[in-house]
Symmetry: C2
Amino acid sequence: MRQVFQEQLHEVQERLVEIAGDATQIMKHASDAFNNSNVVLADQAIASAELVNEKALALDELVIRILAKQSPVARDLRILVSALRISASLERMAALAGHIAQIARYRYPGSAIPEALKGTFAEMGALDYELGKKVVKLLGNTDVDLARSIQAEDARVDELHRHVFDTVLDDNWKENAMFTVDVTLASRYHERFADHVVDISAKVSYLTTGEWNDVE
Amino acid sequence: MRQVFQEQLHEVQERLVEIAGDATQIMKHASDAFNNSNVVLADQAIASAELVNEKALALDELVIRILAKQSPVARDLRILVSALRISASLERMAALAGHIAQIARYRYPGSAIPEALKGTFAEMGALDYELGKKVVKLLGNTDVDLARSIQAEDARVDELHRHVFDTVLDDNWKENAMFTVDVTLASRYHERFADHVVDISAKVSYLTTGEWNDVE
C-alpha cells in the first residue's frame, strides 16, 4: 500500500514539474512575443496556455483519486492538498503569460511597448522566466534552497512594476493611451506571475524536506 | 461517525457563507470608496480584506483536519476539495476589492475616475456586489438556481470592462495617464471579481444537488 502510494506521489510530482515547465516555456514565448512583436510565438503561447489548463484539471482529478483511495493523513495529506494549490498557481501563471502574449497579438505588427520601457520589460520577462525555471527545480527536488533567490527576484520584479508606473505617471510620458493601457496590464501580469512563484515556493518550503523529495 | 461528519460539513459551509459575505461587503465598501472618493470606506475595505485572508487560511486548516479524520470518498471528498477552491476564490475576491479600495486611497481626496466613466464604474461595482450576494445565497443553499443570472451579470461586467478600454482608447480620451492607469486596473479588478463568482458557481453546480445542501 505504502509502495503504491509513493508511486502515486511520484506521478503527482512529475506532472507538477511538467506543468511548471510548460508555464515557464509559455512565459518565455510570451515575453519574446511581447518584446519583439513576434506573432508566431504569441500564438504558440496562447495555445499552450489552454493545454496547461487541461493538464492542471487532469492532475487535480488524479490527486482527488489518490485522496479517495489512500485516505492519507498528516504530511502525505498536506502534500496532496499543496499539490492542488500549486496546480492552481501554475495554471494561473500560464494564463497570465497567455495574457501578455495576447497583448502582443493585438498590437502586431506594431509594438505594445514604447521605447522608454523596452529595457524594463525585457528584464521583467527574463526574471519571470528565471523564476519559472526555479519553480521547476523546486518541484523536482525540494532539497534545493531557492527561497531566498526567488524572494530577491520577486522583489526586483516588484521594483520594475513600480518603475513602469513611475514612468507612465511622469510628466515626460507623452505616449498615447493605448501604450499606457498595454504596459499597465502587462506589468501587472508579470508581477502576478512572480507572486505565484513566491506562493509556490512558500508551499514547498512549508513541506520542509523529506517525503516530498523521497518520492524519487 | 456520519453524524459528526455532517456537522463538520455544516461548519465548513457556514464559514464559506461567512467569508463570502465578508468579500461581498468589502466589494460594496471598495466600490463606494472608489466611486465617491470615500477614504474611510477604503481603509475599512483594505483592513477587512486582510481579515478574510486569515479566515480563509483557518477554513483551509479545518478542511484538512476533516480530510485527515474522516477520510471521505466520492461526493463527500469532492465537496471538501471544492471548499478549498472556493475558499481560495473568495480570498482573491476580497483581495481584488481591496485593490480597488487601494486605488481610491491613493487618489484621495481626488477621484480616480474621470467624469466619462463614472456611470460605468458605478454599474460595475453594483454588479459585483450583486454577484457577491448571489455567491452567499448559492453557498448557503445549493438548491437555488442562480447560474443563469450569474452568467448574465458576468457577461455585463465583461461588456463594461470592454467599454472602459474602448473609452480609454478612443481619440476623444484626453485624460492624463494617471486616470488611464487607474481605470484600466480598476476595471480589470472588477472583471476578475466577477470571474471568480462564475468559477464558484460552476463548482457548486458541479456538486449538483444533495448532500452539500443536506448539511442543514
